[in-house]
Amino acid sequence: MDRVPVLKIGEILLVSIQIDLDDQSALQLQEDLSDRIVETGAHGVIIDISALEIVDSFIGRMLSTIAAVSRVLDAETVVVGMRPAVAITLVELGLSLNGVRTALNVDKALAILAETRQIRGVGLLRVSGSDDVPE
């Protein structure tokens, strides 16, 4: 079965979905991510879907479920890179990505996660240079 790698970057888990996931593989990813959150104590999950040509109701539900499960495990989920055509199609399909935060790209997602964490008083991942994120 095709397995999507879950990458740990500091306190963040990053997943870049590049394959046309069958339903079984989508459930597997959901499970892998939960396991890795528990195992690493990660506080943020970034899911890059810039390579995905479609998001149907099954993948949409996977994203919502990942966000909900992460929250229970004290991690915030941000989905990045959604293509415009995918966003338009999701709306027409009637799918609201419940509880899923989105951002344009990984840097913006990191900024969102850093802010969320700041509120809770935990430092996360600091990006130095021009893209400085408030700590």
Binding site: D20, L21, D22, D23, Q24, S25, E53, I54, V55, D56, S57, F58, G60, R61, R83, P84, A85, V86, I88, T89, E92, L93, G94, L95
Partner: protein, 133 residues
């Protein structure tokens, strides 16, 4: 113009193959990107229904022409239980399974033509068409 392509729908991976076949033909028919995306998404929903609710079946995908415009037609056929109450089945959020209940209603919104033939015990045949602009 290409031959109609017939694809079995017997498992998860077949649903992926149907998506990919529809994409290839939508590209060949020069559907705009957004319409490709809509059609492939609708096909994914309907192929999954054929598998999950219809107990498996097949899809036929082909390029079509109506004299003025090119388009793509996809048909999903199963010999499963059929649908007794279409009004209910096409209600956003209605599901007899564990889905989101958006497959039928949502995919109807995503295509230009949507045709369904079904009866209890007699399976389900859904044909959708998307035209190039």
């Amino acid at each position: 113009m290409t031959e109609p392509q017939v694809l079995p729908i017997a498992d998860d991976k077949d649903v992926v193959r149907v998506r990919q076949a529809v994409r290839v033909i939508a590209l060949a028919a020069k559907l705009p990107l957004v319409d490709q995306t809509k059609l492939v998404t609708a096909a994914s929903e309907l192929a999954r229904n054929t598998l999950i609710h219809g107990g498996g079946g097949h899809a036929t995908v082909e390029q079509v022409h109506n004299g003025r415009r090119a388009g793509v037609r996809a048909e999903f056929v199963d010999t499963g239980p059929g649908i007794a109450d279409l009004g209910l089945a096409f209600t956003d959020g209605y599901t007899t399974g564990s889905g989101l209940g958006l497959g039928l209603s949502g995919s109807r919104r995503l295509v230009d033509e949507f045709d369904i033939v079904t009866a209890p015990g007699e399976g389900t045949r859904i044909t959708v068409t998307k035209w190039a602009r």
